[in-house]
Symmetry: C2
Subunit: 342 residues, 2 copies
Amino acid sequence: MIRIGIVGYGNLGRGVAKAVDICPDMELRAVFTRRDPRSIKIADSNVAVLSVDSVANMVDDIDVMIFCGGSASDLPVQGPFFASLFNTVDSYDTHAMIPGYMASIDAVAKNTTAIISTGWDPGLFSIMRVLFEAVLPDGDNYTFWGEGLSQGHSDAIRRIKGVLHAAQYTVPVESAVNSVRSGARPVLGTRQKHLRKCFVVADDDADKDEIENAIKTMPHYFADYNTSVHFIDADEFAKTHTNMPHGGMVLRSGNTVGVNTGDGNTVGVNTGDDRTFGHNQHMEFSLKLESNPEFTGSVLVAYARAAYRMSKEGLYGAKTVLDVPLSYLAIKDRLDVIRELL
Amino acid sequence: MIRIGIVGYGNLGRGVAKAVDICPDMELRAVFTRRDPRSIKIADSNVAVLSVDSVANMVDDIDVMIFCGGSASDLPVQGPFFASLFNTVDSYDTHAMIPGYMASIDAVAKNTTAIISTGWDPGLFSIMRVLFEAVLPDGDNYTFWGEGLSQGHSDAIRRIKGVLHAAQYTVPVESAVNSVRSGARPVLGTRQKHLRKCFVVADDDADKDEIENAIKTMPHYFADYNTSVHFIDADEFAKTHTNMPHGGMVLRSGNTVGVNTGDGNTVGVNTGDDRTFGHNQHMEFSLKLESNPEFTGSVLVAYARAAYRMSKEGLYGAKTVLDVPLSYLAIKDRLDVIRELL
C-alpha cells in the first residue's frame, strides 16, 4: 500500500482524500493542516489529522505527500521544504513561474521524487499540447477553458462593495471553437476565445448598475472579455451556483505534407482556405467535469502513484507530467496494461 | 540531424517520408524495399533507394529505422532482425499478439531502442486509455473508430466475385456516443457501437443482390454489424472514395467519490440514472483525419525522435508508447517545452 499524506484540507484536499479512497493500492495516512487539527473531522479514524509543523516526524510513515495548498503563497515556501523530506506531488499552476519553481525543487529533491504542476492545466492539457505539437509540427494548438466556475474571478467579484455572493463562469466562444475545428487555423484574441458570465447576489441597497460596471471594467479579470452580469437572489444562488463544474479542451489543427518554398527549405505553410497542398488533421482532447476539485484530486493521486514508483527506481529530482511514462500512472502492472489497454 | 530509414514504401512509407520532411531535426537517408529499387522514384536525390537485403551495410548511416510493412507477415519476421541492428519504430497492430511480439524484440534489442505498436490505435489511443483509467479508476473506457476508410474491410469486399472497386467506411453509432457522453456508462455490443457503409463498383453483368448478400453475411467482417451497401459507378468511385480519411475517439465516463458498500470496502458504484452519490467526470480524445497514412506516419516520426533520444541515454530494449515520457517526442528541448507548453 502506498501511504499518502495530504497537506491542506480545503476543496482540493477533500477531492484527493476521496480519490485515494477508491484506489486499491493506496491508503490515506495523515492530513496536515495549518488550522487547529481538532477542527477537521475525517470519517476514517485511521487517518491522523496533524499540524503542518509536525511533518518532519512523519518521514517514515508517508510515501508520497500531496500538496493541496495555493500556488501564490503556500507552494513556493512549502514545496522545497517538503521535497527535501518526502516524495511529493503538487498542482503549482503559475505558468510563468514554473521553471524557477522547478529549479528550487530540483535543488533539494536529492533522494526524493517531486512531480510538480499536475492537475489538468497544467497537467493533462500540457500532455496534450506537447503530444499534439510533436505529432503535427505544422499546426496550431488552441486551449479553451470552460464552461466552468473560476474561483479567482468569483473572488474578484466578491471583493466589490455591495456583493454578497458571486459565481463567474468562463465559457469558450462557440464560433471560435468551430473555426478551429474547420481547419482554418484562426488567429484568436482574448475576447474572441472566451466570454465571462457572472451571477451575483447583491445587497438590497446596493447600486446594481455600479456593480455591473465595476465588474465589466475590472482590468485583467474582465475588461478584455465580453462579460455578462446577472443579478439573482440568494436562494437561486444556493440552489444553482454552489457546485464547482469545469472543463475545457485542447485542440490542434494541423496539416501533413509540406510545401517546397523554392529556397531549399521545405516547410509547412498555412494557406488559409486553400488546403489543396495537403491534408487537414485534427486532434482534440476535452474534459467535462461536474466537480473540478474532485477531478483535479484524482489526477494528483494518479501522479502520486508515479512518484512512488519513480522514487523506488531512484528517479529522483523535480519532474513534470512530461517526464513521467504513462505506465507509471496505472494501478495495474506494466505488462497487464500493455496486454489490456495498448 | 537524426538520420531516418524507411522500410517499405507504400502509403504509410510515403506518409513517413512527408512527415520527416517537415521536421527540422531529421533527414531521410534511405528507403528499403523488397521491390526493384529502380521502380521507386523519390524527388529528393539525397535519399538512397536500396534493397531490403542490403540493410546490414547501412548500420552506420541510419539512426532510426521506421517500419512501414504489415503486421501480419512482415513485422514478426523483420522486427527482431532489424531491432538487433538499429533503433526501430513500428506500428505493429495485432493487439492480441503484442506481448509475444514485444518479447521477441526485447530479446534482441540489447544495444538498441525499439518502440513498438505506435500510430494512433495502438498508439495515441492507448495513451488515452491508460491515462483515463488511471485518473478515473471508477469509470469505463469506450473506443470508437471512424468515420473512416477500413483497408481490411474494403479488401474483403474486393475479393467477392463481380466486385471491381470497393470502399468500406466504419462509422460510430451516434446514439451510442451520446449515451456515453451523458454519463450513463452503457454496456455496448458490437452492433451497437459501429455501423459499416460500403460503396461498391460491380461488374456490369454481376448480380448485385448476390454481392450485397455476400457482404452482409460475411463472418467477422460484416455479419455482426448493421451494414449498408451502395452501388455506384466507377467515375463516382474515383472522385469520392480514393482518399483515406479516418478518425475515432476514446471516451471515459467516470465518477468521483466512492460509496461505502457496508462490508468495509469502499468502491465506486455505477448506479445508472441515480448519480446523486457522486460527480460524473467525462474525458474525451478524438481524431479527425483527412489522411490516415500521413497522420500515422507523423506519429511514427515523433516516436522515432524518442527512440533516438532514449538510445542516446542507454534506455535499450522493447518499449511502447506507455514507456516514453512525452518530452522525448518534442522537437524542442525539455526545458523549452516545459517553459512554453506546460
